[in-house]
Amino acid sequence: MSETYEKPQPVIDPGTKPFWDAAREHRLLLPRCRSCGEHHFYPRELCPHCYSDDLEWVDASGDGEVYSYTIARKPAGPTFAADVPYVIAMIKLDEGPRMLTNIITSDVESVRIGARVKVSFDDVTPELTLPKFKLESE
């Protein structure tokens, strides 16, 4: 945890506050549709699968697999420069939705599509926790 966290922080809005609040409690919360049963991410007001407004928040397992990834060799601006190389990954959560995140690993070259991953919460400030992922094999 750092008091001088200078990377981009989400501008949290009423539609996304439950997700970020839960992350601070180290819970990965997903919206689920009571009408069609599908989960989705990021959180919407209407289910993007069947357009129902009958949604609920549920705790996700935090498990998934790597759907795709890239190793950033150039940073997304100066605040990420010290992290290069770092892994940005799209995780297919076991509940179905895909989620962009980072994979925290000691060996960026070891990441592969299909690898199993588990959520790992990073408390970057007292107010903000980012749900990142780690390889199950690590």
């Binding site: 989400p10 890239t70 992290d83």
Partner: protein
Amino acid sequence: MAREAVIVGVGDVPLEGGKVVGGGSVLQVQARAAKAALDDARLSMRDVDGLLVAGLWGVPGPGQLPSVTLGEYLGIHPRFADSTNIGGSAFEAHVAHAAMAIEKGYCDVALISYGSMQKSERSRTLGGRPSILTMQFENVWGIPQPVGGYALAAQRHMHEFGTTEEQLAEIAVATRKWASMNPAATMRDPLTIDDVMNSTRIADPLKLLDCCLVTDGAGAIVMTTAENARAHGSKPIHIRGYGEAHTHWSIGAMPDLARLTAAEMASKRAFEMAGISHDAIDLVECYDSFTITVMMTLEALGFCKPGEGGAFVSGQRTAPGGAFPLNTNGGGLSYCHPGMYGIFLLVEAVRQLRGEAGARQVADVATALVHGTGGTLSSGSTVILANN
């Protein structure tokens, strides 16, 4: 007799080393390109009653209402305006929208305009989008924009289909060969596959030479009725079909990272409207923000099957002298890429269809397909053009 909308003028501004010669503000360079396109059309600014504008300039500020600001600057009072911004594919959509407006009698002469001074103004960065609304779930991870999203797609394409980095490099090499024949192109020195493979890694698997340039640029298109074109003695380029679609901007919401859904939707409609098959297309100009964009576009347009793009571009098939002429001005990879490149696809297709492309002229071009891609593989718009 029904009104037929046609393209009658194209224009751009001279570039040297990727910068507009003589410099200028983003409004000045658009005015120059507009004048060039109107001169080409044998029409005057006075005739323009439809204005279509998309860009990333003047925001926050006058660019928030781009057609209103540009109309004021040009001294015209349009009665039809369209500021649709779906990314770099906006201008192909503008051709479609202007065609509908002209054929409906809603306007008579439409000017489509784009300009950017991003290189001269040093305004391009890999980060920097505000982390609000949908982007609060993208920026926090440090994804370089927009290359990171394209890298995720490339990685997935390689995983699903066995596409190789060398196959992606084929596209950069072939495009550079076309650029070598375009005096306006920013990068004209020969390139090898090894050069691409050994270029600086940006976001795996994409390297520097898989990525488009960062340049200035301005372009304009003029459209009117076929009847008006005849009356002014300008040579019309016919619009046989068009289509557009968009699916997402957040890369996490892309339906399938290995398939360009928006291009599949847009081109299907354009081919149906034109009533022709792929065999009838003599030339393709498609958006090349990155090499992977081209490969996924060729698959989505139906020139090869999904996953066969790597084999399709191998052996310099898309280079000068190859079986499939593609991006004949040198593309965004080697000619210019001012941020929203799509208007230059149209400018080049029209020049090729008129036989005005000089050293890089492709023989016997009667029908050309233009396809723009915008956002992060987000939007697609197709226009099929013909010179007869």
